[in-house]
């Protein structure tokens, strides 16, 4: 048999290797090394972390390929990079330079307000954000091989990450209690592909790996998301906007492994220095929230 690349098993499989781990946002090779040394299972290469994207305003786009390549050279762990929602040419560029995973991300300014990228057209796997089960299954239907709950990126406030994880996991529980004849209207009401609704009911979980993202700033936040039932955690601004990034990064890695052990969580939470200042999502104007981007 000829070797086959870019298969669904391969795409989903890399995300399975990331489980129980922390994926960290980094803006240069030096930060990427710090993340790898701290035990990150992958890094997300981008020009500005979400907190800075918020502060700077303007249009946020795919990062400079040269900067991404420098990060790929600096570390041995997988490197992810972001493209705008619907911007399939940015995705083609990221695929051609060999990134390991593409995040079609609401953190960047959307390029298409009706459509996402048809991710089945690519050999490289994609991760996409979601706020609820319907959104997750639409993205998987388009070919996303990994899902992350969105949270509210760049805030350091975990409240939206909790809301989205609870919403997704709660809907899966609800689905498991349903009779088969109820699944079509669930699919209709949630805007989700029927076949995937059936699959989720049978599996009792999403058919791909599901990480939490958006607002995780402390080891306790990371362990909270793990106990709620996600497979791992993205930390964006929370590490390199804190007082001691290396120490905080190590602590969050340990917290994700030992998420059920309160004594270890207490130990790793000691003397971490300043957490990122953060912004309270409940006091944020609706127009500043980015989790609503995605269709």
């Amino acid at each position: 048999m000829e070797a086959k690349t870019g298969t669904w098993t391969e795409k989903k499989g890399l995300a399975q290797m990331l489980k129980g781990g922390v994926i960290m946002d980094v803006v240069n090779a030096e930060q990427a090394k710090i993340a790898e040394d701290a035990g990150a299972c992958a890094v997300m290469a981008l020009e500005r972390v979400p907190a800075d994207i918020r502060a700077d305003g303007g249009v946020a786009r795919m990062s400079d390929p040269d900067m991404i390549l420098k990060i790929m050279e600096a570390v041995s762990i997988p490197v992810m990079a972001k493209c705008r929602i619907g911007h399939f040419v940015e995705a083609q560029i990221l695929e051609s330079i060999g990134v390991d995973y593409i995040d079609e991300s609401e953190v960047l300014t959307p390029a298409d307000e009706d459509h996402h990228i048809l991710k089945h057209n690519f050999k490289v796997p994609f991760v996409c954000g979601c706020r609820n089960l319907g959104e997750a299954l639409r993205r998987i239907g388009e070919g996303a091989a990994m899902i992350r709950t969105k949270g509210e990126a760049g805030t350091g406030d975990v409240v939206e990450a909790v809301r989205h994880a609870r919403t997704v996991i709660g809907a899966i529980r609800q689905l498991q209690g349903m009779a088969d004849e109820e699944l079509m209207s669930f699919a209709k009401n949630n805007g989700a592909p029927y076949e995937l609704v059936k699959e989720v009911k049978d599996l009792g979980r999403l058919p791909v790996v599901n990480f939490a993202a958006g607002g995780v700033a402390t080891p306790a936040d990371a362990a909270l998301m793990m106990q709620l039932g996600v497979d791992g955690v993205f930390v964006g601004s929370g590490i390199f906007k804190s007082g001691d990034p290396a120490r905080r990064a190590q602590a969050i890695v340990k917290a994700v492994t030992h998420y059920q052990d309160a004594a270890i969580l207490a130990e790793v939470s000691k003397n971490l220095g300043e957490a990122m200042v953060g912004r309270n999502v409940s006091q944020m104007p609706e127009a500043e929230k980015i989790a609503g981007r995605g269709w």
Binding site: T5, M17, L18, G21, S76
Partner: protein, 192 residues
């Protein structure tokens, strides 16, 4: 029979469910005392740098080396790297198997692949003959085997993807991502 799966990071849950499918009790191992009473241990796929750092941080290196002297241990992908003696770069290794491993030997994720393998010893032990379908993800290769380690399987071009040293087993692919339980059964035969 009780098998531990090192659960520091990676796809340990997939190994646990494979073991359950073949009727073997499986437990997650995150701390040294959790090795007590186990008949064997699987080190899963994941990121070998992450797994190594966490093993050092929670004082697992010596207990794992001690365990491996007298018990079956199987490493898949990152686990195979962790079991090896030499990978040509500086990261924590158990150095239990006399194999030299090269990380990410096939390239990046877009080069990850699936293929069929002929593994005579696996076929003999499980009484089967259909090919073994293997999933490689940013996979390492075993550059060379030394001492008592021997080649279990190589690709057509000669690159080694599985090796065995007595009760120790290393595969650069992921049997836990397939529906084929033969490799897990083979490992259980080493643990018995």
């Amino acid at each position: 029979m009780k098998i531990g799966v090192l659960a520091l990071q990676g796809d340990f849950a997939e190994h646990v469910s494979m073991l359950k499918r073949i009727g073997v009790e499986a437990v997650e191992v995150r701390l040294p005392e959790q090795l007590n009473g186990l008949d064997g241990l699987i080190i899963p796929g994941g990121e070998s740098t992450t797994i190594g750092k966490l093993a050092v941080a929670y004082n697992l290196m010596e207990p794992l080396r001690e365990f491996g002297k007298s018990h079956a241990v199987w490493g898949t992908c990152a686990g195979a790297i962790f079991l090896s003696r030499d990978i040509g770069r500086d990261q924590p290794l158990l150095e239990l198997m006399d194999i030299k491993v090269q990380r990410n030997a096939f390239g990046r994720q877009v080069d990850s692949f699936e293929t069929d393998l002929e593994i005579d010893e696996l076929f003999k032990t499980t009484g089967t003959e259909h090919p073994y379908h293997a999933v490689f993800i940013r996979a390492p290769i075993i550059e060379s085997v030394g001492g008592k380690a021997r080649v279990l399987c190589a690709l057509a071009d000669g690159r080694i993807v599985a090796a065995q040293q007595g009760h120790l087993l290393a595969t650069s692919f992921h049997p836990e991502l397939t529906n084929d339980t033969r490799f897990h059964e083979y490992f259980i035969s080493l643990a018995s």
